[in-house]
Amino acid sequence: MALLEVEDLRIAFGSSTVVDGVSFHVDESQVVSLVGESGCGKSVTSLAIMGLLPKLRKSGRGGGAAVSGRAVFDGVDLFGLSADQMRRRRGADLAMVFQDPLSSLNPVVPIGRQITEVLERHRGLRGEAARKEAENLLDRVGIPDPRRRLGEYPHQLSGGMRQRVLIAIAVACAPRLLIADEPTTALDVTIQAQILELLKDLVDAEGTALLMITHDLGVVAGMCNVVNVLYSGRVVESSSASRLFAEPTHPYTVGLLGSIPRLDLPIHEPLKPIRGSIADVIRWGDGCAFAPRCDLVGAECVAGEPMLKGEAHAHRCVKAEEIA
């Protein structure tokens, strides 16, 4: 059984629906990715699972998000839990690593405190015990001289170290599912490599399931078992990583792959970009949202909502055969 089963997730801010029926699942010890370009709804999806989206007020004002669908974690629908129950799970069963390591750490609280507070909350560790454990954690994520670091503030650390601290916090209570939202985008390649390595090791060692959110297909290829490609709030293609890279079936996936300059291809061969920009969309209800940018677009593309087809390798394109 899947550890996390997201079904028909819909998220709307006011009148704009930014996630529109997303379903996917994460099995135990699996690394699953959500990939797509900026604004396609990756972060919002992860935040919804964590219960971190701003709540919708009764008045409908204040910019809250309307979330519907189900996110079954370990047999329990997370959306059905009370705020308090959810708070007890966050940080313990489900943990998250955010994109920007500087802004994600509290600038006026020593990092030691930021680690021990989660140990205190979920593992009941206090005082010296908590400090010892925090030190262990820093050591585990590869921060040298952890004792000294505990008393330092985020601005005294480099970007890579901050991200390590965030990871330490996330894995402090040995969560069963770790969600990483673009954990390396803000970092240099060499540091990115360090962090990805670290994540991989942690996941392997603990058997933690990882939901990896990224826009970098390279990262996906290096880390993930299963890939879900999102476009304009929907999954357009979903399959195991090996199959997806070998035979992409959705024009969007194809386009993405064609846009990336690769080290293994001859230089100066022009890239094959997708035309237009992500602003050029139509509503999914009216047809394929990708249609305005698609080279293969035809009348059938705007004949109504395309369905997700296929089991192991699902795609949402009426012209999938043409690509294959």
Binding site: E37, S158, V189, T190, A193, G222, F245, L271, P273
Partner: protein, 334 residues
């Protein structure tokens, strides 16, 4: 006659940089500020770019790429060294002649929105460089603007729109169009695509390529993404802590990286292919970039280098030609 000219330009590079240094003073003090040290952002870089070529500069954040680019354009004052563009020694130009000379070299910025004045519409944006250099009449300027817009793939109907009404990719096109307006010899592109989405990134890269052919441009492309640089450039230089550590044509860099840092960089770039990824040999560097205010002794890379030896701490490696057109600064032949 014509023969001679072409021959000349082929041999003499368009841009030649010699021992360029840019140091930023670190000021501190109680009542009166004193200089207590220097950030050696660029610390002795020499390179040259032939006319019509593209030179790619890569390196990690903070290694001095932007500073180098700006020094070339004299936006940042070089502390030492010479820069020559064509027959003109840029470093010796002062005020008005420098201002005039700026028409020969232009810049494309990383942040497409931030580099466009939000209160100027496209027409003002594009006409301004012409106006300040006294080029053409109003109608001529307009015609040129329309042409250039067309070249970067935007319709002339956008002339009266404002920057915030465009998408990221379109804004970058505008930035490029503005740089093109004076038909400069050299364009410095500082991270021209790193703020863009993958699909848009590809569009802009292709555009830069096309424009180079169309206008015979020379590029200095600065980026931290090795794949991007390799794709755009004829020659690639790798920078580390204010110095070049390796320089070669882009093919060679990828095939035979000679500096451990280049190797590490290359191995760190994730490839969108699970098979390559699974079999790739990774060099994971230890630690972070040291501070450019007091770089390590000897070889600057030694603190993170997996192959470091004693000599690396003692002696600074010389900048040598390891193979034809392939220079490297390392004590060893790897």
């Amino acid at each position: 006659m014509t023969e001679d000219l072409t021959a000349d330009t082929a041999t003499a590079p368009l841009l030649a940089i010699e021992d360029l240094e840019v140091h930023f003073p670190i000021r501190r003090g109680i009542a009166i500020e004193r200089t207590v040290g220097h950030v050696r952002a660029v610390d002795g870089v020499s390179l040259s770019i032939g006319a019509g070529d593209t030179y790619g500069l890569v390196g990690e954040s903070g290694c001095g790429k932007t500073t180098l680019g700006r020094a070339v354009l004299r936006i940042e004052e070089p502390t030492a060294g010479k820069i020559r563009l064509g027959d003109v020694e840029v470093t010796s130009l002062r005020s008005e002649p420098l201002r005039r000379f700026r028409s020969k070299m232009q810049m494309v910025f990383q942040d497409p929105l931030g580099s466009l004045n939000p209160r100027h519409n496209v027409e003002m944006l594009l006409a301004e460089p012409l106006k300040v250099h006294g080029v053409g009449s109003k109608t001529e300027r307009n015609k040129l603007a329309t042409e250039t817009l067309d070249a970067v793939g935007l319709p002339s109907s956008v002339l009266d729109r404002y920057p915030h009404e465009f998408s990221g990719g379109q804004r970058q096109r505008l930035g490029i169009a503005r740089a093109l307006m004076l038909r400069p010899d050299l364009i410095v592109c500082d991270e021209p695509v790193s703020a863009l989405d993958v699909s848009i990134q590809a569009q802009v890269m292709n555009l830069l390529d096309e424009l180079q052919d169309e206008f015979g441009l020379t590029y200095l492309v600065i980026a931290h993404d090795l794949a991007v640089v390799r794709h755009l450039s004829d020659q690639v230089g790798v920078m580390y802590l204010g110095k070049l550590v390796e320089e070669a044509d882009s093919e060679a860099i990828y095939e035979h990286p000679r500096h451990p840092y280049t190797k590490a960089l290359l191995s760190a770039v994730p490839q969108p292919d699970p098979e390559i990824e699974a079999n790739r040999e990774r060099i994971i560097l230890k630690g972070d970039l040291p501070s450019p205010a007091n770089p390590p002794s000897g070889c600057r890379f030694r603190t993170r280098c997996p192959w470091a030896q004693d000599i690396c701490a003692e002696e600074e490696p010389v900048w040598r030609e390891a193979a034809t057109g392939h220079k490297v600064a390392c004590h060893f032949d790897l």
